[in-house]
């Protein structure tokens, strides 16, 4: 081997060791900067994909559009009324909690975000949304739709964030089964390659009384996900060697995600 090659190998190994020794905050910072550099490419590719889709899908009838617009307006009005009532109830609840000196769960702020695209990674189920650190989004924040939990935020760019989907094995949620005292950990399948990948609720008691169709909610333990977010429905329960495991169908249709909400947990001052 030439001397230059030996030197190159030594430098390569030293650089590799330096990368392996990076701590989590540094790794995150590097990933965030790289995501910010690639953000223009990601936005452009999403715009190209949207343009191609717009060309390939037939246009909608104007009458039908007007009808849908009217329906949407009515829906907005209805939701505004509900939001007003909700805010009144939240205020009332906060006052009552104050009177009782009750240290309960924190309310949360929601930020709406548009799904840009699915990421081009190998074995991870992630997608990108158009809100990032400058929009007030933090890492490891829960992401939901009206159907249920979608996942949690990962890497952040100024106006972009990566969401690790619930169908990914990396996104683990402490979960409880409706109508029982059973709690376990819900996670996706490795690689999550199926169109509708099932989730696995592990570490349940053996012979737990869990029936197919039972709703599975987040338990709120662990501090990342708030309690009572719908995760899915039990398809079947089976006993494993030392614990029980339920197969769960996700509540969210991950193939048709357009808009999501990022939850920011707010700390209540006592």
């Amino acid at each position: 081997m030439r001397k230059l090659n030996i030197l190159a190998v030594m430098l390569f190994v030293a650089s590799l060791a330096a990368v392996f020794m990076l701590n989590t905050p540094t790794t995150r910072r590097i990933q965030q900067r790289v995501l910010a550099v690639f953000a223009p490419f990601i936005h452009s590719s999403a715009a190209v994909a949207d343009a191609v889709e717009a060309v390939s899908t037939p246009g909608m009838d104007p009458v039908e559009l007007a009808e849908r617009n009217e329906q949407m307006r009515m829906e907005i009005q209805r939701l505004r009324i509900i939001a007003q009532k909700y805010n009144q109830l939240v205020d009332e609840n906060a006052q009552l909690r104050k009177v009782l000196d009750f240290k309960g769960s924190s309310p949360f702020k929601m930020t709406a975000a548009r799904v840009i695209k699915r990421s081009a990674s190998t074995w991870w189920n992630t997608l990108l949304i158009d809100k990032g650190s400058l929009d007030g989004i933090g890492t490891d924040s829960p992401v939901i739709t009206e159907q249920g939990l979608v996942g949690k935020t990962g890497k952040l760019a100024p106006h972009m964030a990566e969401v690790i989907l619930l169908t990914d094995e990396m996104c683990r949620v402490s979960a409880k089964v409706e109508g029982t005292l059973e709690q376990g950990i819900l996670s996706g399948e490795r690689a999550g390659l199926d169109t509708v990948p099932n989730l696995h609720l592990r570490f349940l008691s053996r012979d737990a009384p869990i029936n197919p169709g039972a709703n599975v909610y987040s338990s709120g333990e662990g501090g990342v996900f708030p309690a009572n977010l719908l995760l899915g429905r039990v398809v079947k329960f089976q006993n494993r060697d030392i614990s029980g495991e339920a197969l769960v169908k996700p509540a969210v249709d991950f193939s048709a995600l357009d808009h999501v909400f990022v939850i920011e947990m707010q700390v209540i001052e006592p």
Binding site: S15, L22, T27, L35
Partner: protein, 204 residues
């Protein structure tokens, strides 16, 4: 020197182009991993030391862009596991180390160096096959590392289909990249030499 810079620029551009490449839903979201193919073809075209530089850049950028961010709250995850009575189940954190791709690309690049004589002669059959095997090997290694870290054996059926499709897509594009690097080498008057692992005895 100029050729090495050109290969590096092509590699960096491929990371941008990767964002525009769609996945194939019917093949378990298989897609062309362009930067990986550019690296592997570049590894056959450049010297050993330059190949290591390319391996570092490719692995670093790939992990920075595509590896999910490590969780900031490992202690909370531990609490979560213990809350569910899973503390004795040997469940790992399930996260791949940032930088592992650099190592994998270094090894695969060294293998690609072996086909330099064929690349120099313009014979692309074996180099293209090597690209396919390398992409397959890279994906399989990643999956096996994940399996090792996460502590349970799980090989879904779709995984093999996805890996084979990814490899075939890489083989489809590889000849174009080989021809591009051949043309670049000619244009920039770069001589493709093969030093291999020859042992130089200096008489002492």
């Amino acid at each position: 020197m100029l050729f090495n810079v050109a290969v590096l620029i092509v590699l960096l551009l491929s990371f941008g182009l990767q964002e525009f490449l769609p996945a194939i839903p019917i093949a378990y979201h298989a897609r062309l991993f362009l930067p990986v193919v550019v690296f592997l073809t570049g590894a056959a075209a450049t010297s050993f030391s330059m190949m290591l530089v390319l391996a570092f850049v490719t692995g670093f950028l790939w992990d920075a862009r595509h590896l999910p961010a490590p969780s900031e709250t490992p202690s909370e995850m531990l609490a979560l596991m213990e809350g569910a009575g899973a503390h004795s189940m040997g469940a790992g954190s399930g996260e791949m180390e940032f930088g592992l791709s650099i190592l994998l690309f270094g090894i695969l690049g060294a293998l690609m160096q072996g086909v330099r004589p064929l690349f120099k002669r313009g014979r692309l059959e074996l180099p293209v096959m090597m690209i396919g095997f390398s992409v397959f090997g890279w994906l399989l290694c990643q999956f096996l590392i994940l399996t090792f870290i996460r502590g349970n054996f799980n090989f879904p059926q779709g995984m093999w289909s996805k890996m084979i499709t990814d490899s075939l897509l890489a083989m489809l594009v590889a000849p174009l990249l080989f021809l591009l690097f051949h043309a670049l080498a000619r244009w920039l008057r770069y001589e493709i030499r093969y030093d291999g692992l020859r042992y130089h005895f200096n008489g002492r």
